[in-house]
Symmetry: D2
Subunit: 335 residues, 4 copies
């Protein structure tokens, strides 16, 4: 799913052009259109359809490589590319928590790119690996970032995640039709609890001091095609009025907006005042899937504040996130 979303989003991109495709041996040597059935409503770009799929090894690949690899293989493959001098913009989880690998959300922590030098020193390769967060983490981290100003200390989240987040074939339909599965494999809850601290942290002499926020996550799967929803409660040391929180979200901007990066949404966070929003079917695609929607902010009698947030998991939470990372790096002349 993520690989196809990369290709759909890169069609007509003003800066990048798909010049090479690498995959496992099973697909190597095939035309892309024959390597796997196209499963998105957006059309398969004609020029990519006919490209021959290469192996997942450096050599013929251009300098910038996007990785939507499964974590079972991403570790070795991405290291091989970095060792061969490539800039790897990865959606895989393998290197996210590596101290010198940036775990980027450009609106929040564009300055984490400063880790590049430390990474080359620590890992001994001429290339670079930069990662984006887990798809459920993006929604959470984006809404938490502006709350640091109010003394964010705790966040509890229950997610309701779309089936596209499990890849393809992913969740069997028998398991999810008219059902909820209250568990997501692969350590999903651990990632949601661990990644935001690093994302929200500060660069400190070649490493990240994580933001001190305690997170508790329950992750569930629901019969939704695209869009991860989170029911979130937070503790803020200051006790701002609700309006101030909404204002902080609405005013939130970052480097992508300042630099007018091609994939940047005009407003990274959009607060919806209607009582029954955000909803995946209506809001996941906001601003080409790159804006995170927030709603239902109200008092929580336990933690202080609660709200609902939503983002498009294969765009803002995966392929679009990686492309935004590459756009930032391109403007910073790291690519």
């Amino acid at each position: 799913m993520v690989g196809q979303q990369f290709i759909a989003l890169l069609a007509g991109h003003p800066w990048f052009r798909v010049a090479w495709l690498g995959a496992s041996q099973r697909s190597e040597g095939k035309a892309y259109r024959d390597a796997a059935a196209w499963r998105l409503a957006a059309p398969l770009p004609g020029d990519v359809a006919g490209m021959t799929v290469d192996g997942a090894t450096p050599g013929r690949a251009p300098r910038l490589v996007f990785s939507g690899l499964d974590s079972a293989v991403a570790g070795d493959v991405e290291a091989a590319f970095a060792a061969a001098g490539h800039v790897v913009v990865s959606n895989a989880r393998n290197y996210r928590m590596e101290p010198t690998v940036p775990l980027l959300i450009p609106e929040i922590n564009a300055d984490h790119l400063a880790l590049a030098a430390a990474q080359r020193a620590a890992l001994g390769w001429p290339g670079l690996i930069v990662t984006n967060p887990n798809c459920a983490v993006v929604v959470l981290a984006m809404t938490l970032a502006p709350l640091r100003a109010f003394g964010l200390s705790k966040a509890a989240v229950t997610t309701m995640q779309a089936v596209s987040g499990a890849g393809y074939p992913g969740v069997p339909s028998w398991d999810i039709l008219a059902n909820v599965i209250p568990h997501i494999g692969g350590g999903e809850e651990d990632k949601v609890e661990a990644e935001p601290g690093k994302i929200l942290g500060r660069v400190n002499s070649g490493a990240i001091d994580p933001h001190p926020v305690v997170i508790s996550a329950t992750t569930t799967r629901v019969p939704v095609r695209d869009g991860h929803t989170g029911s979130i409660a937070v503790a803020l040391e200051e006790q701002p009025p609700l309006e101030a929180v909404i204002e902080a979200w609405s005013a939130f901007r970052g480097e992508p907006q300042a630099l007018e990066l091609p994939s940047a949404p005009p407003r990274p966070l959009v607060y919806l005042p209607e009582a029954n929003r955000p909803q995946p079917a209506l809001d996941a695609g906001r601003d080409r899937g790159m804006a995170v929607s927030v709603g239902r902010l109200r008092r929580c009698p336990i933690l202080g504040y609660k709200f609902v947030a939503l983002g498009h998991n294969t765009i803002r939470g995966a392929a679009g996130a990686a492309i935004l990372n590459a756009e930032l790096m391109h403007r910073r002349e790291l690519v």
Copy 2:
């Protein structure tokens, strides 16, 4: 939905027989089969199908009356029946928080029936009104009841509720197909935050001292037919090991089990050890829809403990709950 579920559950009941049906003027005088299309998979009992629907007024009704009325009319109608000497076993919300009206879950608070005398005195009627909780509350309260022994002080819940909970026609399909609606109207979250304290409380000279538990609720609608799921976190003053909590749930029994009431599930709470349970499609119907399923107990870094619970909303959370209440009252000779 609840009215039909009453009729389905009472078919072949060993103690009760449907002898009278009352509804709004729109249905009055019609045969039941013609008053509204039957929408359950369980068959419409032939004897009820041909009964003529009466108005929602006392007179021809027998002493015991079940009420699945909409809250817009339940207040006046139920009072009229109680004033006419009927025992009203109600699923409506109107009298739940009335100080002298029992808000019953027989496994938890069968002793709350002691309010009957105070109710007659306070409300001045010869009959009686007894209520069951909101459909989402049953799941929460059942799992919280055994936790009082560990010093239960806080509970945060995000629900994922089935469409049958909204009645009929209820949620338009456009709103919920492959979607999540992060809001349920009619004050659902207020009910979930308010009712458990009373349910878990103690009778104290004709009134209930509520259990001191702070509850925070977010209620959402998901594309599920039957079964409300809750992602729940709790604070317990004692810090029991996880095994002790599971043991407390598994050992939990109440009056319905002691009295072997016809609708009583053998075990009110069933803990499922599998990582991905409970699920509405597999677990909502457990023990004819009367058992609450629990799973995924684990540590919560914020409140201490978290888990997932599930119950059948139109059976354990509505019609089945009311019938169990009536069975208890029958054995206590209140009916």
Copy 3:
């Protein structure tokens, strides 16, 4: 649903601008944004959001009026507008089978606009009513039009229709979640059996000689958001090879393509060679919802040929159809 789709599609239209909104008394006088909740993923255009809704009466309305009215009121209201000199481009069923009212699919029967003079004479009004077909008919008629050349004589169709076709609130979610309803009210099957003959017919001295095709329809509702699918079998007097049929579909073009109307899809019919297409989730939105997708052409041992077709019911089958009709009329200087 259709009214909102009209507004979404007219946002940024090169020729038309929403200048007036009329609705029933319940909405009259309200700002459009307050008259009904916006239910599409496409944004509500800001200029329309603030417009005040007028009554459904002529007077302040501009000459061209789109009607997405319910059939219960469309008859009188549309007649009143036509009598007041308006050109009414209607999606309602009331006048579709009226002998002098064009039932237009511009790719098929743009020449049916020649009925305009006869209509004014017959119905005695200075304005004009032009209609588009039922949403399930468009898919069928589009695929049948090129088959007239092969001696089309019979067509049997079983539809699987999306919930948006029932409007809002439309189908209750309890009825359709993980279910199929093998019936659609409002005479759906009669419309599917009756309308194509007129659409495919010829103008003959101020009336339409219908195309002699016998149609049998079974219409069902499935849990799909947008996109009506038809399983279609046809009898053709000639026995063309399958390739010739595919070629006839693929080569099919009409006035909208010749005139390059703004809403015209480049190819009205797109044949998909994959064995498992078309699918509503992937194909309904093709060419902004204006192209009909066809697939699975093969021999039928009973009628001769069978295939599957799909179109977007609220765009190609309703609002987009009407807008395309108006574009054609604008170019013909009828508006």
Copy 4:
């Protein structure tokens, strides 16, 4: 799915008891509860849960063996069991069209068991293989059987099939959520077109003379959990009134009813007069999933008659069908 359904249906069976389980090498030696996650709402019987799974080879197996094997392996495995003297009651497709193998629906063709002697002679084994039809065929063949009396000559069917029919993991959720897939792999349409003729045929000196009915099938997948629906049109040489057809269905009984077999539904075909039935969510489970529901009989302007039929695909269309076959054979002392 079918294997689990076998175990669920055999729990508490009055004549049969699960004494042995065979599966592929991957499961061999494991306790059944560990070999595959249990995925039905019905509970996994405790005695079967702990049984050790054997290999799929004769030896320790009892005489009667049910086979829910995948067709990729069923051919060899079932032949090996028959060669070893077992009676194999199979749900696999491999031997269904073999001339001397009964393709049984006991209500229709209990007399086809007379092929047993011819099978032993032709295939040279001491055992016996008996099959039940494809899950979509059962629904069609059951409704066609009583129509032979009216000169049944043609039947066109479009199916809307549940995801459980594809087994597990089966259809990926991304492909089917809020979608229709107009194609089912594995030659589904060929089976639907071929099997009914044999089922409806007559034994003639050790072989079956098929009933001369021409069938055209389009098979589709819809987001339904259980229950295959068919939109069916038929040509009947006689032109009976609709009431006569309904009467023929309603009066239909066969050997299972005469013999009061434990799994026999009291009425194999139940005609529902409501305009919008049968529906999978309401009707698939009728009579423990063993009755086929029919509705919407009306005139078809092309073939003469059309209607909608529905049956539970993993019960009446698979495991329940096989068990009914075995019950018939038990009473005939073939087991």
